[in-house]
Amino acid sequence: MESSESNTVVSDMERLPYSANSLKFAASRSVEIAAMTESILRPSKTKLIFQSLPVHMRRRVMSHNAKRLPNKLRTGHLEQLKKSGLPPKQKRPSRKYRRRPGNLLEEYNRRQKKNFWLETHIWHAKRFHMIEKWGHRIAYAPCDKAFRACYRASSAHCLLQDISYHTAVQIIGPEITIKDIFALITSNYCGLGICAKAYIDGKREGSIHLYEKNMYPFGYIGKISFLWEKNEREKSLWLFVHPSQTKQVESLLTDMLDNISHTPVEKKRKLTNNYSENIKVKFLPGTFNRFRLTGPKSHIVLAHSIKCIDDIEKIKENKWIQNLNRSTLYLKEKCDYWQKIKGATSPSHLPSKIVIGLVVRDPRLCRPNRRTKALNENIQLDIEPFLNIPPTLSASPLWDSYTHDNIKKEKLSNTQFIEHITKTQLVPGAVNIEDPALQSIPIVLIQRPGSQDSSKKIGYGSGWDIIIPPGYGLQFWQTLIMFGARSGGLRESENLAFEMGDCYLPPDSNSGKEEEIRIETELREKYFRLPPSKRVNYIKMGIVTPFICPWKILLRDWSNSSTDNFFVLRDRRLLQRLQDCIINKIELPEIENAVACLVQVSLKMVKKGKLNKNAIICLPEKNDLLELPQEQQCEDPNEKIRKQKRTEHMKKLKQLRRKRNKLKKAGTQVNKSPKKISSKSEPSEYVKAMRELWLPSDIKSCRHSCSRQILGFLPQAAYSFSESRSCGVGFVAYNALNTLLKKNFNKVLVRNVSSRKYRLANLFLKIDQ
């Protein structure tokens, strides 16, 4: 009752206004509105996002599985989690999801961004150890134990390697200009020039040693194979550069072109300007596929896997052919020649380094049903095609960039191919080889002669290189594999070079130096992972640098003058003379820069002994040839220091531990974690000092580090299957070789870094041609 009374009282006393002023109304409540909007826009910070949900929508797992939250809250929630220090753990997507074609492709594209993949990458990744090298992902060695099998393939069967990582470089321009440019960066002492008559018509592939501009004999870059290509319009030079040297070659060539156009004498300006306009250098990495077949059976494998086209009429529907001048294809002549040489039992029967440009059927059409060995048909061979090469043999439409774009565009994918075959074939399993729906492909074959001296098995290392347009790499690869070729990787390339007595990356090139350092760090780390009792004490062995060959120190020791640069002797005439000197034990001739000169030698053990990498080559003394010497155990002055240091360190550790325990008892927290992280990334001062005591890094001299004087080192040494004894490829200082010959020896002592026994070895020179 009272309330109703009071209401009436209110209505009596104050009347409600007839109109309300909205502005006034809002203004008087502005504080409340502001508070409300504030709380809507920025919900109270003490709460987590999922706590703001109504109770019926909350789930217990929400805090660690964001997917239980409504979608619009998820991002905020994840950020909150990040702030609170818990990194959101995201489950790896299921295998089924990852294997969906689209997702798989996306993943592959992401992984290819860092390192370049070859076309056969996925095939290799399933079967090979892959390594990252030179900006590529390269197959190193097959996963099955195949070291010996790969050697056997290269010597008696067929070894197949994908070397598409070699960069193709096209140089277009007049011959004279190219000759001028290459005169500055090569030397005619090392072999034939780039414009030699033997190579200029494009019939054969050549190789050339490249140096920095005007630096010969210093500044070696690498050995590069080249090929002249002639078409009706212009002549162009194709270089195939090893990926470790690509950058160097690129900067060198661009530098040369710039200099030619900018710094000529004024009179010559007209001419030189023409040069720079005329010459074009194109780097085309990843354009061509280049496969390397090695071994006598490689010819038969190839003969089975490629089916030549002899008539233009059969392939006139192919799009890439329509823009070409048909008279320059010479299909008939090439096919005839290929038929004639098809029956050869080994590629080393053929003229060395010949280039054959063929147009062949799609390789998927001529595959056996299952992996079979390609066998030779016994045909009586005519000797004539091995002597004379038809002049039109090397021409190929492959080199035209327009052609490969077209070929790639018109290519049938494997799915399309299978669909087409199942649709058109009448008898299951039978394939019509002359199917017009599949386009033909131009390829280029290049022969490699292998060993041609009687010092090695004749024809060892001979084979074919195939250059294939982009897009067809895997198809050719699989066909070759199906005909019995055995696949190998980078290890096989290195091993093949070793068996041939070559050095894969010479130590005076940048790539070789990098490789040496990489191997050194690898071996060093491995060495220091061993417990001290299992480590070889190299100081006691009298070895200063067990993991790297110190060329500069060696040369300094033998010349008494410091040299900051060195080179490997590649002058062919001089090498020939040196070889005569070594055989007849005559003193060496005087040469320029002898103080900085290394000579490449290959060693062969006389009797017993197994050589390892980095073995030392020593000068024998008078009676050493009769009775092989043994190195006396050297004194290790660091041994005591190491022991002392270790006991000190242990003491210190003990003290620290005691301190920690005390603190723990006292109840204070000791934060350990940051210390541990830092120690993992870099070894502590103590470890560094100990390592220094194991292997001192400041080396003053190496010549007199043991009882016999050191002449050189063997960066490559192992058991050689082709020689059936231990062999090594090494480098000897020029003056040291001279000293050896002056003492009337042509045999040397060799010793492994982990052994004290000296062994006797014969010394040979490798004359690279």
Binding site: N188, L192, G193, C195, A196, K197, A198, R204, P296, A344, T345, S346, S348, H349, L350, P351, S352, N376, N378, L381, I383, F386, L387, P449, Q452, D453, S454, K457, I458, G459, S462, R572, Q769
Partner: protein, 142 residues
């Protein structure tokens, strides 16, 4: 010009195959092989003699009716030795039949100067082909 010179010098030095001309390096190619098979053995000078003999014995004892031995050049003598040894080892159960021939060998002439092209030369080498065949069946003499 250059070509004429080469051909002349080639003719002059036909007997000295090792270095027909200072401008060329002689590179050997693999000789062309006769018909290959399981029962064909190529005799070389580098392989151990005993190993080759054992290989031939194995082939014969394991039921091969005939084996063919090929020898080229300096390996001819070794090939004959081996065949005779086989004959005496399988006394009475084996016979040999000998053929001789000539094999054309091709050498590459690699130029050592820029203004020369590659060349080839053909050498001839004598060869021997010995057929060793069983006259009595396996195990007949045991």
């Amino acid at each position: 010009m250059a070509d004429e010179n080469i051909s002349q010098k080639k003719d002059d030095n036909k007997k000295k195959f090792k270095r027909p001309n200072k401008n060329y390096a002689v590179k050997k190619r693999l000789p062309i092989r006769p018909v290959d098979g399981d029962n064909v053995v190529f005799i070389t000078k580098k392989t151990n003699f005993k190993a080759q003999l054992d290989r031939c014995c194995d082939l014969l004892t394991k039921g091969e009716k005939e084996i063919i031995l090929h020898g080229l050049g300096a390996a001819i003598q070794r090939c004959c030795n081996l065949a005779l040894q086989l004959e005496s080892l399988f006394s009475g159960t084996c016979q040999i039949e000998v053929n001789t021939g000539t094999v054309d060998l091709v050498d590459d002439l690699e130029p050592l100067a820029d203004d020369l092209d590659f060349g080839t030369q053909v050498r001839h080498s004598s060869s021997i082909h010995i057929r060793v065949f069983r006259t009595a069946m396996l195990g007949a003499n045991q």
